[in-house]
Symmetry: C2
Subunit: 113 residues, 2 copies
DNA sequence: GCATTAAATAAGCAATTAGTTATATACTTA
DNA sequence: TAAGTATATAACTAATTGCTTATTTAATGC
């Protein structure tokens, strides 16, 4: 028997994931930590726009931040209560690894510490 | 290996499900066909509000309608391309059967044809 | 045909959203 | 310490959302 998730909280999480930019971000973060400037490069939107999306995801605890020198790296928070729920969605989405590969290819991938 | 779903379409579906009213509707419809007036009773909002939520769900093909006399019954469209995706979310939500039971108890459940 | 019931659509409104530009904060490095 | 880079926050704006009330459409039953 599968554990269930509070319906109102589920709606809140789904609403957060119901945006192409955030859904892609979370899918990427599920396999690669990233910093803000990498997302700016990937999504071709302004830096504040990226920061605001990340803040929403962080506010509900789906992601975490860690400063590494000049950069702040974001990662999936696997300890979050809703991580299994999120994961069950993510595993049905196609890999977004090519976006990370594109950064590496163009030399804008940040490798740090 | 699990089949994957286009990320942009997934975001669209998740956005639809990212509303408490619609998510509850879909969870209920997954096990019970319902008509508009039953949802009005369950959610205690205006009839047009319910109709508008149902239309959004129908517009992406997640649900279907069928007129039965005076009433229009809605049901989950299991043939929809995204049904397996939706189902994987729904199965993690607690049953909403008590809402149907409440209708039955108060005599407002519509049994038709 | 006329009154009643069910549902859809139209129009309007307040709140929310996702973006922008401008500015502030924080760290790095010369 | 000053300049440069990365990120967050503030303020603004246009578009979207979810609701409402009013009206229209459709079926039922006298």
């Amino acid at each position: 028997m599968q554990a269930t998730v509070d319906l109102n909280k589920a709606a809140l999480v789904l609403k957060l994931l119901g945006d192409t930019t955030r859904l892609t971000m979370v899918k990427i973060l599920d396999t690669h930590d990233c910093c803000v400037c990498e997302f700016v490069e990937i999504f071709k939107v302004s830096q504040p726009s990226i920061s605001q999306h990340l803040r929403k995801l962080r506010d509900v605890g789906l992601i975490e931040e860690e400063r590494k020198g000049q950069w702040i790296f974001y990662s999936i928070n696997k300890a979050n209560e809703y991580y299994p729920f999120v994961e069950s969605v993510l595993k049905q989405l196609p890999s977004q690894d090519e976006k990370i590969q594109a950064l590496t290819d163009e030399g804008t991938r940040i490798i740090c510490c």
